[in-house]
Assembly symmetry: C2
Homo-oligomer: 468 residues x 2
C-alpha cells in the first residue's frame, strides 16, 4: 500500500497523530487493511497528509505498541492479524459483513457492558487509596495474603450480602477473585471436569464461553417468561445450572419465588449446584428487592456470584463467590493452592469503601442516576405503536420488541445510519437458535446521559417508524 | 471450655487484645482447641484474665472476622475447623506432629517465599499511584481493558524482557495476569486437557499443585547437577516440561547451555512445550547473566513465565507469560474470553515504573541488598567442616548439605530449639521420593537483615555442631 487517505481535521480537539492512529486502527480492525499488508512509510504518509513526519511516527508507534502493526527491519510496517484478539464476547461484530455500510464509532451507543463513568467515586477512591498506602508503613500489604482474599474484605462482603441481598453466609465462605471469568476458572477446578451446565438461551455469552472453554458440556435451555424451567433442567441431565434470578441477562426477567423454589428442589435432588449470578441486583427501580436465591437455599446447593464490575467499575477487577459449606472442604483440597488474584492494596481500599459506608452511599446515588436514565428511556419509548418493552424496572438495560414488521438486522442497520448503536437479541443466542416472536433489540443505558438517551430514542423512533 | 489460660504481658508493645487473639488463633491452628469446641464467654474470659470485657470482645471479633471462630445465637463462640484452609503449599506443617516441642513463631525464619520489605519502593509506588489517578480525569482506567493486559504495560514488559533477559518477543505475545497460579490456569485452557507435565523432583510445589489440580498427569524427573535430563524427558512421554534454567527452585541449579539446547531439541520434536519459569532471574551475583532459554528457542516451543512477585513484592499480583507465536491463535480461540485479572490502575502504575527507569534502579538496589545478604550468609557458613553449600550466586536462597551424620529432621528440630526456622529439601519432594546423599536444608535470606543472618547462622553452627 503506497497511499492511505486519512481525513484529518486540525480543528478537532483530538491531536492529529491520534486521528491518524484511530483511522488506521479502524481500517485494520474492520479488515480494510488486510493482515500482512504493508503500510506506507512514515515519510511518504507524512508527505501525503501534509503533516510532520514525527506526527506519523507517533501514530505508528502507538499502533505498534498496541499490536495493530508490526515492523520488519529495512522493510517497514505491516498490519497484524488482530481479528478476534480485540474482540470481546460481544457479538455485534458479526454484523460487519462485507458490503454493509461502513461502521463508524456510533454517536450514541446503547452499550450493554458499560457503567456511568461520571458516577464513579474518583475522589473517594483516590482518598482511600492514599489512606491505605499511608497507613501501611510496614508494608504488610505487600506480602502475600490469604488465597481467598483478605479477612477484612471478606467480612465486609459477607456483611453486605447478608443485609442487602439476604445471602446466608459467613466470611469463610467468601472467595474474592479478579473478575467473574477468573472465579469460573477456579470453580471449574473446585467442581472438577466432566460437568454439564445448563444456561438459558438467549444467554450471557461471557459465562457461556468460560464454561465451554474449560470443557464443560453445555445445555442451552429455552426459558419461559419466568426464567429457567426446572422440568427442562431435569430432562437435560445437567448437574450445574447458571441462573440470574434477580435480573436475567439479556432477557431482563425477574424470576418469581415459585420458580426459584422449583430450581432449589432440582438442585437438592443430587450432586447438583445452582450458580446464581447476581451481577446487577443492586439496581431495582420498582417494588421490593427480591432476596437472592441463595437466601432461600436450605440444602446448601447454591454458589453465589457477585461483582463490583457493575456497581463500581469493570476495571476494579473484583468479584466474589460464596461457596456453600459442602464445597469448602473441596475448595481447600482442590483449589486453595491458587493464590489470590486481587492486590491487597485494592482489597483494602474496597474494604474501607464498604466498611465506612461509601459503597452504600455510592449505590444510592447510582440508583438515582440509573433510575433517571431508565425512566427517561422508558418515557421516550412507552406508548409508541408497534413496540413492546420488556426487562424494565431493574438493571441497566431493557428490551424493545418491534411488532411493525421490521427485522432485527434492518432495525440495527437503520439505527446505525442515524448514528445509534443497538444490539440484537439474536446475537445472544447460541447453537443456532433463533428467538421466535417479534424481533428484539437490547438497549443499555448506563453509559449515556439523559439528553443523549432522548436524542438517540428520538432518532430510533424515526428510523423504526414507530412515531405516532 | 470454661477456662483458657493466656499468658499476657502488658509491657509488650503488642496490645492485649492482640495477644489474646494471637494466642487463641494459635491454639485453634495447632488443634489444641478442637473444631466445634466452645470458647469461654467474653465475660468469663475477661474476668479470668483480669482485662476489660471490651478487650476480649475485640479479640473475638478479629477471630470471628478471620474465620477462626464462629458464633451461634444465645450459645456463644465456637472454634471453626480451619485445618488446611490457612495452609499454604509450604510443607513445614508436616513437621508439627504430636508430641513435638510446641512451635513458636521463630525468632529467625529463613523463609523461602518472602522479599526484603524494606526494599520495596513505597514512596515511588505511592507517587506513581497518585500520578496515575490524577492523570485519568476521564476515568478511562476504570473501563474494561484488553484481556491480555493493557498495551502500554505489555510493551514495557516486552522491552524489559528483550534487553534484560534476551527474550525474543513482541508485545502481542505478552499476557499479563494476577499471579503465576492464574496464568497456569489460563495456560491449561490454552493447551487443553490431557497433557502430561514433567517437573523436577524435588520440585516447585506451587506449580506442581497447579498442574495437578487442573488434572494434568504429572511426571516427576530426577535432575542431575545440570538440571532436567532430556533423555528422561523423552522416556517419560511428557509433552510439557516445566523448567527453571536460570535458578532452579529449590535446587538452585543454573542450567548450562548444552542442557538447554538438548531440552529445546526435545521440545522441537513434537507438539511439545517447555515452560520456562524465570521467577528470580533478576538476582545474580557472579558471572555473566545467562540469557533465557526462550532466547535460544528457534522452533517457538517455549512458554516464558515471569513475575514481579520476587523482584517487587508478592502482593503486587502481576505476573506475565510470553506465548510463542504458534500459540497466539490458540489463545485467541480458546482463552481470550477470560478478562484481564489485574486492575488497569495497577497496570498503569507498573507501566510507568518500568518506563521511567524506576524498575531498573530498584533492581540494582535490590541486587546490592541481596548480594550483601548472600555474601553475609555464605561467609558465615563457608569453610565450616561437615557442610556443603549449593545453589549460591543467584536467587535469594541457598542449600546447605550436612555431612556430619545429622538427619534433616534433627537439623530442623535443633534449629527450631534455637529459634531458627530452616526448611528441609525432602519437603519439596513428591511421590514418595527421598533425596539421596547428605540431608539438605534450604535457607532463604530475603526477609532477614544481615545482623539477623549472622546471629541465626551462629546459632545454626552451634546447634548443628559444625563450628570448628
Amino acid at each position: 500500500m503506497q497511499e492511505l487517505m486519512i481525513p484529518l481535521d486540525s480543528r478537532q480537539k483530538v491531536p492529529l497523530y491520534q486521528q491518524i492512529y484511530r483511522h488506521i486502527r479502524e481500517e485494520i480492525g474492520e479488515g480494510r487493511i488486510a493482515p500482512g499488508e504493508k503500510l506506507p512509510s512514515t515519510r511518504l504518509l507524512a508527505a501525503n497528509l501534509g503533516v510532520s513526519r514525527s506526527t506519523v511516527d507517533l501514530a505508528y508507534e502507538q499502533l505498534y505498541a498496541e499490536g495493530f502493526i508490526t515492523s520488519r527491519p529495512y522493510r517497514g510496517y505491516f498490519a497484524c492479524d488482530i481479528e478476534g484478539l480485540y474482540r470481546q464476547p460481544r457479538p455485534e461484530r458479526r454484523e460487519a459483513a462485507a458490503g454493509e455500510p461502513r461502521r463508524e464509532a456510533p454517536e450514541f451507543d446503547f452499550a450493554l457492558n458499560g457503567i456511568d463513568r461520571d458516577g464513579f467515586p474518583y475522589n473517594t477512591w483516590k482518598k482511600l487509596s492514599r489512606q491505605v498506602l499511608a497507613e501501611d508503613p510496614d508494608g504488610e500489604l505487600f506480602s502475600l495474603g490469604d488465597p481467598r482474599g483478605d479477612a477484612g474484605l471478606r467480612r465486609e462482603i459477607a456483611s453486605y450480602l447478608s443485609h442487602a441481598r439476604g445471602v446466608n453466609c459467613q466470611p469463610d465462605q467468601v472467595i474474592v477473585g479478579a473478575g467473574n471469568d477468573y472465579l469460573l476458572l477456579l470453580l471449574h477446578v473446585i467442581l472438577g471436569p466432566g460437568r454439564k451446565v445448563a444456561m438459558d438461551n438467549p444467554t450471557y455469552p461471557s459465562a457461556w464461553l468460560d464454561f465451554e472453554k474449560v470443557g464443560y458440556e453445555m445445555c442451552p435451555i429455552l426459558p419461559d417468561d419466568r426464567g429457567m424451567q426446572a422440568r427442562q433442567l431435569e430432562a437435560c441431565g445437567a448437574d450445574l445450572a447458571y441462573v440470574m434470578p434477580s435480573h436475567h441477562f439479556p432477557l431482563g426477567t425477574v424470576m418469581p419465588i415459585q420458580r426459584r423454589m422449583q430450581l432449589l428442589a432440582w438442585a437438592a435432588g443430587g450432586n447438583r449446584f445452582l450458580i446464581e449470578d447476581d451481577y446487577d441486583s443492586e439496581f431495582r427501580y420498582k417494588g421490593k428487592p427480591v432476596p437472592s436465591l441463595q437466601g432461600y437455599d436450605t440444602a446448601g446447593r447454591v454458589i453465589y456470584l457477585g461483582t463490583f464490575s457493575k456497581s463500581l467499575a469493570p476495571a476494579i477487577r473484583v468479584s466474589y463467590m460464596v461457596l456453600p459449606p459442602v464445597l469448602l472442604e473441596t475448595y481447600r483440597q482442590r483449589a486453595s493452592n491458587f493464590s489470590a488474584t486481587v492486590s491487597r492494596v485494592d482489597q483494602k481500599i474496597l474494604e474501607l469503601f464498604l466498611r465506612d459506608g461509601y459503597f452504600e452511599r455510592h449505590l444510592n446515588r447510582m440508583r438515582g442516576i440509573y433510575r433517571g436514565k431508565h425512566d427517561c428511556l422508558l418515557n421516550c419509548l412507552k406508548g409508541k405503536p408497534g413496540i413492546r418493552i420488556r426487562g424494565e424496572n431493574a438493571g441497566v438495560h431493557l428490551l424493545v420488541s418491534l411488532e411493525n414488521g421490521l427485522s432485527e438486522g434492518e432495525a440495527i442497520r437503520r439505527a446505525a445510519t442515524a448514528g445509534v448503536r443497538v444490539y440484537g437479541l439474536s446475537e445472544y443466542c447460541v447453537e443456532g437458535y433463533v428467538p421466535d416472536g417479534a424481533p428484539t433489540l437490547l438497549l443499555g443505558y448506563a453509559t449515556l446521559k439523559e439528553e443523549e438517551i432522548m436524542e438517540a430514542a428520538r432518532r430510533l423512533g424515526k428510523m423504526w417508524e414507530i412515531d405516532r
